[in-house]
């Protein structure tokens, strides 16, 4: 067997292990899934009337706000799901099983790759579930072509992979699961200061550049464009660039922290 076949084989073994964890202990995944769903319902049904006054020059209604908020909620779902990856990687790193893996003649990166692929699968599944809730309460994306749907799906997967590598980096660098979960909080909070809930131009002037160029805003604007036909502009390139930068940084961070000699 070639080195690549071995790497694929070991990584898929590790992936099976991670998916088994999720199946046995779905509570972590469900908890992480609950937050975006709650926020979706909260912003649409409780704050909906007030929030809709802030978009489209004040003439919008609740269903217009639902359309506005769903793309942001979908990306927030990814930010929330990958917290689980940080926690489970940190748990693995602090357990004896990791020492066992390191003394076996297996592909070295397979543990991390298994976590990343597992987390991306979870993210996509969570996005589909949260999206289904959105559709159930009235979200429609009927104007989008099949190609745009595929592009949206591909983009969400790419974004999930990039953010997952960052989360895995946090997991490998943390001494324990609690620290990893704390470190991953920004991944979950960043969408709150993006264009997910309110348009950027409604924010204080000094804050606008931060909100506009942080990773989530270009990603949200790109997804909005693909699903709802709004203007994407430079956000598409910006979002792809963020995915590449975050993915590369996360990958370097994870692998260097993983290679360090255990104490």
């Amino acid at each position: 067997m070639s080195a690549l076949t071995l790497a694929v084989r070991d990584s898929s073994t590790m992936l099976r292990r991670n998916l088994l964890h999720v199946r046995r202990y779905p509570s972590l995944t469900l908890n992480l899934l609950l937050t975006p769903v709650m926020l979706l319902l909260l912003f649409v049904y409780i704050f909906g009337d007030t929030m809709s006054a802030g978009i489209a020059g004040g003439g919008a209604d609740r269903s217009a706000y639902l359309a506005y908020v769903v793309p942001g909620i979908l990306l927030m779902t990814i930010g929330s799901t990958v917290v689980g990856a940080a926690v489970s990687v940190a748990t693995d790193m602090s357990e004896g099983i990791m020492a066992r893996f390191r003394t076996m003649a297996i592909h070295r990166g397979s543990v991390l790759i298994g976590h990343v692929v597992g987390s991306v699968i979870q993210s996509v599944a969570s996005v589909v579930l949260v999206g289904a809730v959105g559709v159930a309460i009235g979200f429609r994306s009927t104007d989008a072509t099949v190609l745009e749907w595929l592009a949206a799906f591909g983009f969400l997967t790419l974004f999930a992979a990039a953010v997952t590598w960052i989360a895995v980096g946090m997991g490998t660098a943390s001494p324990n699961a609690e620290a990893a979960s704390n470190m991953a909080v920004p991944l979950f909070l960043l969408p709150l200061i993006s264009s997910a809930f309110t348009p950027i131009d409604a924010m204080p002037g000094w804050f606008q550049p931060i909100a506009e160029y942080q990773p989530f805003t270009p990603a949200i604007e790109t997804l909005r464009g693909l699903l709802l036909g709004t203007e994407i502009g430079h956000n598409g390139w910006l979002a792809l660039a963020w995915c590449l930068v975050l993915g590369a940084l996360g990958y370097r961070w994870s692998t260097s922290a993983f290679r360090r000699d255990p104490k």
């Binding site: 067997m1 071995l6 084989r9 070991d10 073994t13 099976r16 292990r17 088994l20 964890h21 046995r24 202990y25 357990e95 004896g96 099983i97 020492a99 066992r100 893996f101 390191r102 003394t103 076996m104 003649a105 297996i106 000699d261 255990p262």
Partner: protein, 321 residues
């Protein structure tokens, strides 16, 4: 040299300023049990971590299973199995799933993997618990699962880092039995322990590690020969009685603090009888008489520079746990 399973020359490792291993030499012939014996913090675990490719050494010429550790770590990993001090099982999944995970990582064909796993679960008395999450296992069961997982790939060299620490006496004896069976199959075992009894019981060769250097190496018999032989110990509670006994019995070693005298003796019935006669005729009556034959405890304490008096070993050992 091909018959050496493990060969280390000048193994060195420091963490910061602290020298953990200060140039130790080890050679373990294939198919034998080698025990690295030492107190806590002596560097036993570090030695295992280095020889099992987990941690890089600072220096030394190291070969495991005939492969150079630095040049061919994957070849070394393919030859070894490691059961560390802390349980290396995945607590979230069942014992059987842990075993099948190992079979997959050793890339065993599906059917062969299942057969191997079933046989090992049977051999280690884990069939009943196989479908339960490993997190709920008792200490002894976890340790058995741990070793069973190590054996899935059929390693030729097995590292066991303090395999019986924290186990109850029954589990400890089960573990000893398991270790003996491994060697009867031709496997080489590198065992660390802080229990002298364990090394004495199992090991073909013992190395005593203290403060990062090897204080002695040899078979249990050879090590016991390194220190003075057995003795009879007389303890007194009355200082006056102690002093008069000490002046009456000249060929003794005095321990003024404990009010105790040590008289060389091999502990045989004949010698004891003549000793008692001698004590009677000298008018000496001790409050306590104990016969002490040399064991690894004596070697251990003599070599590792402990100041503890031999008769109190077991007490201090208990207290230290």
């Amino acid at each position: 040299m091909t018959s050496l399973a493990i060969a280390a020359k000048g193994l060195r490792k420091s963490y910061g300023d602290k020298v953990v291993l200060d140039g130790i030499d080890l050679s373990v012939p294939a198919g034998t049990i080698f025990s690295l014996l030492g107190p806590n913090g002596a560097g036993k675990t570090t030695a295992v971590k280095i020889l099992s490719t987990l941690v890089a050494p600072d220096g030394g010429d190291l070969r495991v299973g005939g492969h150079d550790l630095a040049a061919e770590p994957q070849a070394v990993r393919a030859a070894i199995g490691v059961t560390g001090q802390f349980s290396a099982v995945d607590g979230l999944i069942t014992g059987e799933e842990n075993m099948l995970l190992m079979a997959d990582l050793h890339r065993l064909p599906k059917r062969e993997g299942r057969r191997t796993v079933a046989a090992l679960l049977e051999r280690f008395d884990l069939v009943e618990a196989a479908k339960k999450p490993a997190a709920g296992y008792s200490g002894g069961m976890k340790r058995r699962l741990d070793i069973a997982m190590t054996l899935v790939g059929g390693p030729r060299i097995i590292f066991l880092d303090e395999p019986t620490t924290g186990l109850d006496p029954r589990s400890r004896h089960t573990m000893w039995q398991i270790i003996r069976e491994l060697v009867s199959d031709g496997v080489t075992v590198f065992l660390t322990t802080q229990y002298l009894e364990e090394a004495d019981e199992l090991a073909d060769r013992i190395a005593v590690l203290d403060n990062g250097t090897l204080a002695a190496e040899g078979s249990a018999e050879e090590l016991k020969r390194l220190i003075p032989g057995g003795h009879v110990r007389l303890r007194f509670s009355d200082p006056a009685a102690y002093r008069s006994a000490a002046s009456a019995l000249r060929e003794t070693v005095r321990d003024d603090e404990a009010l105790a005298l040590q008289i060389p003796s091999d502990g045989s019935q004949r010698e004891l009888r003549s000793l008692l006669d001698w004590l009677d005729s000298a008018g000496v009556e001790a409050d306590e008489l104990t016969v002490h034959t040399p064991d690894l405890d004596d070697v251990f304490f003599a070599l590792t520079g402990s100041t503890t008096v031999p008769a109190q070993h077991h007490q201090t050992e208990e207290a230290a746990r």
